[in-house]
């Protein structure tokens, strides 16, 4: 402690947001900052922008799917059976839309559609959801919650950010040059042959490759930070569960991302030089690509969901003022999920692999369901005898339990071999992973942003406005994606621009849902902008949280804490502890508190 104070002297510092006067000086300060908070905020705006881009692509995809078939021929036949008139109508919504906007693309309707869903997938996965929570909220709050002044390697952190920007630039460039139609999975040999003579696919794959490095370096930084920079008095089991989740996430990032690195590198070589590794014509094996790809991309599913689970643990405990139930079970299940996640990649390719391997992967896949279920039970049990307030973060926390449970349970028929043969690559899968990715990660991310917004920017947001946005998101999300379960079981394949008439009603409902969902997101955007411009000043601890970030000011000072914090209570001792910055008068303690069994 004393060593730190010796060369600290941060007592008169201002908020991390207050910079030097002058726009250029501010820009330069932000561009060269090694402050994890500034980097976290820059990430936050970048990933939200990417979410906007990917979301727009999603709306385009849904718009095309209002009509089943593009080419409709009407023949009029007279009494003699002779054709007297033939009219062809085009149901190509996207093409019509683009032409209406004055863009005359030399592409057919399905080609535009295929580019739109690839854009949606690639942007959402590589540029939004993988970096979303760890790089923005993680960067901002991991050091603060540990009581540290910064992450272990601040300059490396800045490098990660620039690598992220660099990689995203490649992706955006590829989109501006006309986009790619490979699907975000880049399956060979389609990805190595489509769009011959063009660099777009290479650019997009390079983008994913570069973004991987950003992910590795961030993960590495966080692991070392958690090991080395915990505040005095904070043992491993005194860490907030958000930290546990980010820690498990980081381990996956460090171990899985290099494999996608080499895979995408091989794909780039294949594309530029025809090396033949994945090319069946030369004896290569296209299914090997799928194994390599999913060896990364399955664990990365948990990179997406684990930090979300961490956020939910925080949200439920703080807003129910209740000690989290089964702390160790939740912490260890994070690590358990991280471990098992490396063994289950095969369930993405059940229909392309041998029988024995399929059975093995099916069994292992069920294993991963167990720690996930344990977490959900623990969260529900946390609410028991709590003091629950239904503000926006809490509503998102509860919405997560609702949507994520559906997402998790619908994973069961996909892990079961006999039913997966039917459901694989159908809309059932689409609905399932949107319930997990969007209903899980994005919902938790939104909850987390609202929860920590006052801390990050020192402004409160408009609660009624945010609640309206939340309600629209809840309704829109479920209308959009619940219908897709039925589409899947009834036989609608994924990635179809055209479909048979019988699916039209469900598709239309789904599209209308996507509009409600989009509206909800715009309400949130408006609330955020309103808060930044005209929000009330936020108190240091608006919710009564006990983790260390609530001991800081809102927004935190440059080096987070005036004095190095010493941990005196657990992160969830709501029943026995008056939160920092709170008057004991406003926070009554139950007379029996502290007598409960631990």
């Amino acid at each position: 402690m004393s060593t730190l104070d010796a060369h600290a002297g941060h007592h008169e510092e201002g908020s991390y947001l207050s910079g030097p006067p002058g726009i250029m000086a501010k820009v330069w300060q932000w561009a060269t900052t090694v402050d994890h908070k500034k980097i976290g905020v820059m990430y936050l705006f970048a990933v939200l922008f990417m979410f906007f881009v990917g979301g727009m692509a999603a709306l385009l995809v849904r718009y095309e799917l209002i009509d089943p078939m593009r080419e409709v021929l009407v023949q009029t036949v007279d009494a003699n059976g002779d054709i007297i008139e033939t009219t062809a109508t085009q149901g190509e919504n996207l093409k019509d839309l683009f032409e209406g906007l004055g863009m005359h693309e030399d592409l057919t309707g399905t080609q535009i559609y295929n580019r739109a869903f690839t854009l949606h997938g690639a942007v959402m996965v590589f540029m939004f959801i993988v970096p979303s929570i760890p790089a923005s909220l993680g960067n901002f709050f991991l050091p603060v919650m540990l009581g540290a002044k910064d992450v272990a390697f601040p300059r490396l952190n800045l490098l990660s950010w620039y690598i992220y920007l660099f990689g995203s630039t490649f992706g955006i460039l590829s989109i501006l040059m006309g986009g790619v139609d490979t699907g975000w999975t880049f399956y060979t040999p389609y990805s190595t042959t489509t769009d011959a003579d063009h660099w777009r696919v290479v650019l997009m794959v390079t983008a994913a490759f570069i973004l991987g490095f950003s992910s590795i370096l961030t993960g590495l930084n966080f692991v070392v930070t958690v090991h080395k920079l915990r505040a005095p008095g904070m043992g491993w089991f005194d860490m907030p569960l958000f930290i546990w989740a980010v820690y498990a996430t980081s381990i996956i990032q460090v171990l899985a991302t290099p494999v996608i690195g080499i895979t995408l590198l091989l794909l780039i070589f294949e594309r530029i030089m025809n090396i033949g590794i994945f090319d069946p014509a030369m004896g290569g094996d296209p299914v090997l690509y799928q194994h390599f790809f999913w060896f990364y991309s399955h664990p990365v599913v948990y990179v997406m969901i684990l930090p979300a689970m961490g956020i939910i643990s925080e949200l439920l405990a703080v807003h129910a003022r209740k000690h989290i139930f089964g702390y160790r079970a939740i912490a260890f299940s994070s690590l358990g999920i991280a471990g098992v996640s490396f063994l289950v990649w095969g369930h993405h390719i059940f229909t392309a692999m041998g029988e024995l391997a399929a059975v093995l992967f099916s069994g292992l896949t069920f294993l991963v369901a167990i720690p996930t279920a344990i977490k959900v039970f623990n969260w529900i049990a946390t609410l028991y005898k709590g003091s629950i307030v239904l503000n926006t973060p809490m509503c998102y926390g509860l919405m997560f339990l609702f949507t994520f449970s559906i997402g998790g349970l619908t994973g069961l028929p996909l892990a079961t071999l006999a039913t997966d043969l039917h459901l694989h690559d159908s809309y059932f899968v689409v609905a399932h992973f949107h319930y997990v990715m969007m209903g899980g990660t994005v919902i938790a991310f939104l909850g987390g942003i609202h929860h920590w917004w006052p801390k990050m920017f020192g402004k409160m947001y408009n609660e009624p406005g945010a609640l309206i946005g939340m309600a629209l998101v809840f309704i829109g999300f479920n209308v959009t994606f619940f219908t897709q379960f039925f589409l899947g079981t009834q036989g609608m394949p994924r990635r179809y621009a055209n479909y048979v008439d019988e699916f039209q009603t469900l598709h239309q409902i789904s599209t209308y849902g996507s509009w409600i969902l989009g509206l909800g997101m715009f309400v949130h955007l408006a609330v955020f902008i309103h808060s930044l411009v005209a929000g009330e000043k936020a108190p240091a601890n608006p919710w009564g949280g006990l983790t260390l970030e609530w001991e800081c000011e809102s927004p935190p000072i440059e080096h987070n804490f005036h004095h190095e914090p010493i941990v005196k209570h657990g992160p969830y001792d709501f029943e026995t502890t008056v939160p920092p910055h709170w008057d004991p008068k406003d926070y009554p303690i139950h007379p029996d508190a502290g007598k409960a069994t631990h």
């Binding site: 002044k149 272990a152 490396l156 070392v224 460090v254 290099p258 091989l266 030089m273 080096h559």
Partner: protein, 234 residues
């Protein structure tokens, strides 16, 4: 002299610790409590990074194993085309450089500034020699014969249709390894610059020397696997 790279050298004489060198003025980054913690953290970070490197090469080894199983003929032919003597020479070069890299760390710990620089220079020279042998006697010669990867393959006497695949894996495996050799040498170049210009490394501050050496040992280790797999096993 032991070449062990202890993290906490207790056998350093007090007289060295009092000499006026740049490394003595160095203080830990503001967010660290002590320099020792910072050093430990940097090493932990490096080990994690090495893990990612191992996994990167694991992809190539995995591809090697799969295709070896599918096309044993092509793989046997392939390794016959490689001259084990060049491989062995390069192995010797890399082993020597690993030894000098370890020496460099020890020299930093003992504040032997001159020998620190000598060891680093030998390491970089070995890297250059490795690349030279690889390019001059292997890549150039083989490419000249048409033993090129994938569709560029034009060697007229191939006995198995899958030999282009072998060459693809050969060039990718050794090529990515060679890229690591170059990156490692560049890293040592940076260390050399700081060591010469500022005498930046000494008994209490040798993080970068240590990490560069760790990285170099990994480069060496990967070659130790590549050499028998490509050159020796038929």
């Amino acid at each position: 002299m032991s070449t062990m790279t202890d993290t906490n050298p207790t056998d350093v004489p007090q007289s060295i610790l009092k000499s006026p060198k740049h490394w003595r003025n160095r203080i830990a980054g503001h967010h660290w409590r002590t320099g020792d913690e910072e050093f430990d953290a940097a090493k932990l970070g490096m080990w994690l990074f090495l893990t990612t490197e191992v996994l990167l090469f694991a992809g190539i080894f995995c591809g090697y194993a799969v295709f070896r199983m599918m096309y044993p003929e092509a793989w046997a032919n392939g390794s016959h085309y490689l001259d084990w003597r060049f491989g062995a020479a390069n192995t010797a070069v890399l082993l020597l450089s690993s030894w000098t890299a370890a020496n460099a760390v020890r020299c930093a710990q003992l504040d032997k500034q001159f020998w620190l620089r000598v060891n680093i220079i030998i390491t970089i020279a070995c890297a250059a020699l490795f690349i030279f042998i690889k390019l001059k006697f292997e890549y150039m010669v083989k490419l000249g014969e048409g033993k090129a990867p994938g569709t560029f393959f034009s060697y007229p006497y191939a006995q198995d249709p899958h030999e282009p695949l072998w060459w693809s894996l050969y060039y990718i495996g050794t090529g990515i390894h060679a890229a690591h050799v170059i990156i490692g040498a560049a890293l040592f170049g940076v260390v050399l610059y700081y060591a010469k210009r500022y005498q930046a490394y000494g008994p209490t501050q040798y993080t970068l020397v240590e990490n560069a050496a760790l990285y170099w040992h990994l480069v060496d280790l990967v070659w130790i696997f590549l050499f028998p797999l490509l050159y020796l096993i038929h």
